[in-house]
């Protein structure tokens, strides 16, 4: 049983960690967040590309490094610590992974090298105002048109939807399949209502009015591909959240030691000490489940894998809520300010908790059937 990072993963963690330490201090991040048009850094994006991060899990024949989810998780945890603003989840964890899982070889060849090189930003549009967490209960439609399709409907909260060069969108076909369709960013009939999300990442609502599209693979096969990409994506959000939680804990610990009230560092107050200890316990539980999720991705038994990943995200969401809320409380007023970093971590982990599925839904899904603990 080897649960530690291997040498290659450790090297990856060190490389990414030292880049972000140099480039992503709180001020630099705030600058990007508040004063840049794009909301993230093209220059850093290019550096991610140069380090091979954008093609980390992309096949070598498409210019990638052909690594696995274990390596991606290492990167995600570092990104969570630094709270990066670049559209990595949108482009790599979702967009490229969907193209890879559902697309034809020609489509992969057309899209993935651009992602890997840093020249293509992708987004995945799936949520709708009335769909809540469902992937299939959607109103967007796709109808055949000539050799391709046209897509119509409105999607919300599309991560990276503001700047994506290409968008993967889920829509129902006349056969009632939930297909995945590829739309050019400048296609006629596509309109964007761009905004910053609550956590500062950029996104958009997208309105599709008879937008020309091509199907990513066969629409009948798309849902299964989509679900397995989301298994991986959920596991990756778990790792990102663990990085963010870790930072929140250590920031809080540092603050308790330096902030003085009543003539002493507030770390002398046991009620605060014990709450910091509880945060540590929550973090360790979350870290264990992020690891469990990553290991579960290797499981060929799809229902078991899915249950494990969902259980992990449930633990992560609960831990993150606990750690995030306590981190703010233990900082007092300074934790409430936009200028101080801790609140930004709460914002990101809160957004993660509202991505793909929330704790209440996950509780239902994990509790269905035989549950997690079995006698095997």
């Amino acid at each position: 049983m080897d649960l530690d990072l291997n040498d290659e993963q450790q090297m990856l963690a060190d490389t990414v960690g030292s880049l972000l330490e140099k480039r992503y201090d709180a001020n630099a991040r705030l600058q990007l967040l508040e004063s840049s048009e794009l909301g993230w850094s093209r220059e850093l994006w290019q550096q991610y590309a140069d380090l091979g991060l954008l093609g980390l899990t992309v096949d070598e024949q498409y210019g990638g490094a052909g690594m696995g989810a274990g390596e991606l998780a290492v990167v995600m945890e570092s990104f969570g610590r630094a709270l990066i603003l670049e559209p990595f989840v949108a482009t790599v964890v979702l967009g490229a992974a969907l193209v890879d899982a559902a697309g034809s070889p020609e489509q992969k060849q057309a899209i993935l090298p651009g992602v890997t090189a840093g020249s293509t930003v992708l987004a995945f549009a799936y949520a709708e105002a009335a769909s809540r967490w469902s992937l299939t209960d959607i109103a967007a439609t796709a109808v055949p048109a000539g050799s391709g399709w046209t897509v119509s409907g409105e999607k919300i909260a599309v991560l990276g939807g503001d700047s994506a060069d290409r968008v993967v969108v889920s829509a129902k076909t006349p056969d009632s399949d939930v297909g995945l369709f590829l739309v050019e960013g400048d296609a006629t009939g596509l309109r964007r209502d761009a905004y910053a999300m609550q956590d500062g990442l950029r996104g958009a609502d997208l309105l599709f009015e008879d937008v020309p599209a091509v199907a990513l693979g066969e629409p009948a096969d798309a849902l299964a591909a989509l679900e397995s990409v989301l298994d991986t994506a959920m596991a990756m959000l778990c790792s990102e959240a663990v990085g963010a939680m870790e930072r929140m804990l250590w920031m809080t610990v540092d603050y308790l030691k330096t902030r003085e009230q009543f003539g002493a560092p507030i770390a002398v107050f046991q009620t605060l000490r014990h709450r910091a200890a509880n945060m540590y316990v929550s973090l360790e539980q979350a870290r264990s489940m992020a690891l469990a999720a990553r290991l579960a991705l290797l499981d060929d038994d799809v229902p078991a894998r899915r249950r494990a990943v969902r259980a992990a995200k449930l633990q992560i969401d609960l831990s993150a809520r606990h750690i995030g809320q306590e981190a703010i409380q233990l900082h007092g007023g300074i934790g409430m300010t936009m200028e101080y970093p801790v609140g930004h971590y709460l914002k990101r982990t809160t957004a993660i908790a509202k991505t793909f599925a929330d704790a209440d839904l996950l509780t239902q899904l994990v509790g269905a059937d035989e549950g997690l603990v079995t006698a095997d």
């Binding site: 200890a277 549950g371 603990v373």
Partner: protein, 391 residues
């Protein structure tokens, strides 16, 4: 079985499972599976069978019957034992005094005590706590004064678990009253049949008797029953308490309780709120199990016998989940758990009691102890806080 385990580890666990199924009395396993408390005989029987197979104390040095197992194998062994409803070997014997004697005792003490301890020919009790020395254990006052070849011991121990069955008791005693707190403490082995030693049971809120007061009134103890050096007892006690980093997580117990809840839950678990509580308990237990495996995976690189924040974390979370599981079962049984009964026999014509009715509520009351003993959860939080705050 956990996906983190290698094929070899799984095979090992399967082997242990088969061993417990074939070698341990079926009647006992079945009775304990229904929530019964292990009797003295159950524990002794189990330890003898284990000893017959050379499995009484796998974590001891090999020359004293230990196995050259990895920390993970030892964990799997203990977990399979719990899951098979086999009572765990008496912790006072195999987890506490045994390793202390094996590590710090004289050759003569090892020969005299270790085989009998492994086999439970000696039933050990733990005499650490006193009425005024609980969390602040080092403030203990029981004294041992050297008189020729003997120590004369005076004082009182309390909370002595299963002391009513005890043959011997290992005690922390003060041998130097002038020295500061931790400095003047020694580790003494005392025959409980010694004149001047009396045991008085304490009635607990679950209705049972599992702890005792032990009074020591001019008890004369041969000096060769001192372990290690005089006034070094505190460091042996710390070794003893930090010896099993992952055992306090009680993960096997928690999992077996969850399985029991699922088995007994019936239609109560159609209630979405109860079901949700069960699910979150399962998720936390799964996370805890992975936390245990993470600690085991790096166990070899940790200094032995030193308490560290991960073992505190495991104890904290483990005790909470144990308590949550016991509480959930009472909530599932509802009014069926309200009657206090000594046995599950009912008069002719009455319906049989549902499984769990007898023990669910008492267990819930009893397991409040889990956050008090073995270092209270507040003490564990303090250990974690000290480590992360370095303050």
């Amino acid at each position: 079985m956990n996906t983190a385990l290698s094929k070899e580890d799984r095979a090992f666990a399967e082997e242990m499972r088969a061993f417990f199924a074939s070698e341990m009395p079926a009647e006992m396993r079945e009775r304990l599976g229904r929530g019964g408390h292990p009797s003295r005989d159950d524990i002794v029987t189990t330890m003898r069978i284990l000893d017959d197979h050379g499995l009484a104390a796998p974590h001891w040095p090999v020359e004293w019957g230990g196995k050259d197992w990895t920390p993970l194998q030892r964990h799997l062994f203990a977990e399979e034992m719990v899951m098979a409803n086999v009572p765990s070997p008496l912790a006072f014997n195999t987890a506490m005094v045994g390793p202390v004697i094996a590590t710090f005792g004289s050759q003569e003490q090892k020969e005299r005590f270790l085989p009998a301890t492994a086999r439970c020919d000696i039933w050990w009790s733990q005499g650490f706590s006193e009425p005024n020395a609980g969390s602040d254990l080092a403030s203990l006052k029981t004294t041992a004064v050297r008189d020729g070849d003997e120590y004369v011991v005076n004082g009182q121990k309390t909370w002595t678990t299963l002391g009513q069955f005890g043959d011997w008791i290992f005690c922390l005693v003060r041998t130097d009253s002038a020295a500061k707190k931790q400095r003047g403490i020694s580790f003494l082995l005392i025959d409980m049949t010694s004149p001047g030693l009396t045991v008085r049971p304490i009635h607990l809120i679950d209705g049972g008797y599992e702890v005792n007061e032990v009074f020591l009134d001019n008890v004369r103890v041969p000096a060769d029953q001192l372990v290690g050096e005089e006034n070094q007892g505190w460091s042996y006690a710390k070794f003893l308490l930090g010896n099993e980093r992952t055992a306090n997580a009680s993960i096997g117990l928690i999992k077996s309780r969850i399985l029991r809840i699922k088995r007994l839950g019936g239609t109560a678990l159609d209630d979405p709120l109860l079901r949700a509580r069960l699910t979150r308990l399962e998720v936390e237990a799964t996370a805890l199990e992975m936390s245990v495996l993470r600690v085991l995976a790096r166990e070899a690189s940790l200094p032995p016998g030193v308490p560290d924040p991960t073992s505190s974390m495991l104890k904290l979370k483990g005790s909470e989940l144990q308590q949550d599981a016991s509480e959930l079962l009472t909530d599932i049984l509802g009014p069926a758990g309200l009657a206090y009964r000594e046995t599950d026999e009912v008069p002719a014509g009455f319906d049989a009691l549902p499984e769990g009715a007898l023990d669910a509520m008492p267990t819930y009351f009893n397991w409040r102890k889990a956050s008090i003993y073995a270092g209270s959860n507040e003490v564990q939080r303090e250990i974690i806080a000290k480590t992360i705050l370095k303050f």
